[in-house]
């Protein structure tokens, strides 16, 4: 098999070939590294990968092959190479959160999501570029330089999980892991033309995910197909005693509910899909609007009833998010002080000075800005006006979603982003950058599951459509996305 062919295989196809003996786990690893080389994924090229270790991956492949010989099975992801965002703890590779303050840090334990994927035969081949501590929407806040969009190298990948999204888009891996706080999986997935999933808050263990904003953070999956994304989400979902916020609600099988338009003329018959008007503002890019209208027509042709709905507090989501997330970040990032992890300033003569100089040398401008902002909104005199008020408006945003789903809506459809991928360096105002997340951040605030899938292209750049479902109803979200993906077929990439 040549390199290009490997890059087109789904996770299911790789696992089937490995299980059937047509491909060894080592060949899958080599295929992945060959794709990375062909795509120019390194620092001097697309800059998607921060850390990788071919020998380590090949040792894992050899261990898997040995285990398969012994047990007769390799798991649902046997031999599937995966890439992992650099803020998810892995064994043997650095976990630096794309930050100089964690330079050289190698975690002594791995995230539960990684353990579960490895138990099913997946092999970690790389840690991917990201905005420092997941704070950003373009991957430009990486001290290692921006990841570049494979569809146009002058443009951003989106962020903060930019390296993970582009690694899937390039065919380096069929599945990658990212993390979401305000859209950091869905937005880069939309910009890079892949599928990106943010599960319900509590659906996937956060054990081993370096904390940014704990009431919002979730690990999410990126893949080239809805089927692969559902498979990987199914594997990593479920209660974990190591994360007290993980939920014991049963996971079930998402893929069992898939009905293809090829086998049923109306696979979404009986479903009611809401289109919230707040997500289609007058200034929405006309190309994105046109592709969303085409997707809505496809949903109708699949048998769904499409109705207009309202989520009236959604336009307030960005101010709410940029109070709550920095507030939580200012607390979570207090642990990076030069004592226990990574970088330490050794010139300071007293402890207090060591804390301050270490943190200022280690954190980049966006992280510094958000820590200051978060500390400010939590400080005496401003707590009620900013933080408490933002929490109250968050409750209103959540109530909007609850009302819509209580009124019989099965899923919502919106654009994922207001624009396609923008040029590197084009957005310099921090608040303008924050607006990239305007359609994604509400799902994080409300805790509901949401995913992006490709629905077309504008001037050659991918456009994402977003499907949102009720809490813990990932099955509904995947069912709608699977049917839509099948109905759009090649049009999703045109």
């Amino acid at each position: 098999m040549n390199t290009v062919d490997f890059g087109t295989l789904s996770a299911g196809a790789v696992a089937a070939r490995v299980a059937g003996g047509e491909m060894s786990p080592a060949a899958a690893v080599e295929g992945s590294f060959a794709m990375a080389a062909a795509a120019g994924a390194g620092r001097d090229g697309l800059n998607l990968i921060l850390w990788s270790d071919r020998e380590l991956a090949l040792r894992d492949a050899a261990g898997l092959a040995e285990g398969m010989t012994r047990a007769g099975t390799g798991g649902r992801l046997a031999g599937v190479p995966i890439a992992v965002k650099d803020n998810i703890s892995t064994l043997g590779l650095p976990t630096t959160c794309g930050s100089k303050i964690l330079a050289g840090y190698v975690s002594p334990y791995e995230a539960t999501a990684i353990t579960r994927l490895r138990q099913e035969g997946a092999i970690v081949i790389a840690k991917t570029n990201m905005d420092e501590f997941a704070m950003g929407s373009s991957n430009e806040n990486s001290p290692y330089g921006p990841a570049r969009n494979p569809h146009d190298v002058r443009r951003v990948t989106g962020g903060s999980s930019g390296g993970s999204a582009a690694s899937v888009a390039c065919g380096i891996v069929p599945i990658s892991l990212g993390s979401e706080t305000g859209g950091s999986v869905r937005q880069p997935a939309a910009f890079c033309g892949v599928v990106g999933v943010k599960p319900t808050y509590g659906r996937v263990s956060r054990y081993g995910l370096v904390a940014f904003a704990s009431s919002l953070d979730q690990i999410g999956v990126m893949a080239r197909t809805v089927d692969d994304a559902a498979l990987a989400t199914e594997i990593i979902a479920g209660v974990d005693p190591r994360d007290s916020t993980s939920s014991s609600v049963e996971v079930g099988s998402y893929r069992d509910q898939f009905v293809s338009p090829a086998t049923s003329p109306a696979p979404l018959a009986g479903l009611k899909i809401g289109v919230p008007k707040e997500y289609f503002p007058e200034n929405l890019d006309s190309g994105i609007r046109a592709h969303c209208e085409r997707a809505v027509d496809a949903l109708k042709s699949l048998g769904a009833t499409v109705v207009d709905v309202t989520l009236p507090h959604s336009p307030l989501a960005i101010p709410v998010y940029y109070i709550i997330a920095p507030a939580e970040a200012s607390s979570n990032l207090a642990r990076f002080d030069g004592v226990r992890y990574g970088h330490r300033n050794r010139d300071a003569t007293i402890l207090r000075e060591m804390f301050a100089t270490t943190r200022s040398e280690g954190f980049g401008p966006e992280v510094t800005r958000r820590i200051l902002l978060g500390t400010y909104v939590l400080s005496a005199g401003y707590y009620d006006a900013y933080y408490k008020k933002a929490q109250a408006v968050r409750a209103l945003i959540t109530r909007d979603f609850n009302t819509v789903f209580k009124n019989g809506i099965d899923a919502l459809f919106t654009p994922t982003t207001p624009t396609t991928a923008f040029a590197i360096g084009a957005v310099t105002d921090p608040y303008e950058m924050y607006l990239s997340d305007i359609f994604t951040v509400t799902a994080n605030l409300a805790g509901v599951p949401a995913m992006s899938l490709p629905i077309g292209r504008v001037a050659g750049l991918p456009v994402g459509g977003q499907v949102i479902a009720n809490h813990f109803n990932e099955a509904m979200m995947f069912r709608v996305a699977y049917a839509l993906e099948a109905a759009l077929g090649r049009e999703a990439h045109q």
């Binding site: 009431s215 000075e353 100089t357 200022s360 200051l372 933002a390 929490q391």
Partner: protein, 104 residues
């Protein structure tokens, strides 16, 4: 509520960040610009929900209301294998010496 230079200095001190004086003007301008977009929240009527605010409870499980074994009831050798003069011996946490990483 405009952010002042003193506010930024104070917040930087609280956050243990060393802000260079030549960056202060820029940070003050940036924070004021960002916070100006937050003012819209003050106009929202939130009286109805103020008693129930917090992370979305529907997806946040509660622990069972049951007590477990007390961690200190385990033999002290399990958590503190090294004792000297009836005191626990622990690794040094922080020092500016190069030998800081060595146990005493």
């Amino acid at each position: 509520m405009a952010v002042t230079h003193d506010d930024v200095r104070h917040v930087a001190e609280l956050a243990r960040l060393a802000v260079e004086p030549d960056r202060l003007d820029h940070l003050v301008a940036e924070l004021n610009s960002i916070l100006s977009h937050m003012d819209v929240l003050s106009q929202v009527d939130t009286k109805e929900v103020e008693k129930t605010i917090g992370a979305p409870m529907v997806s946040t499980p509660l622990r069972s209301d049951a007590s477990g074994p007390l961690p200190m009831l385990t033999p002290k050798e399990d958590f503190a294998p090294d004792m000297r003069d009836r005191l626990f011996v622990v690794p040094r946490l922080a020092s500016h010496d190069e030998g800081a990483d060595r146990a005493p």
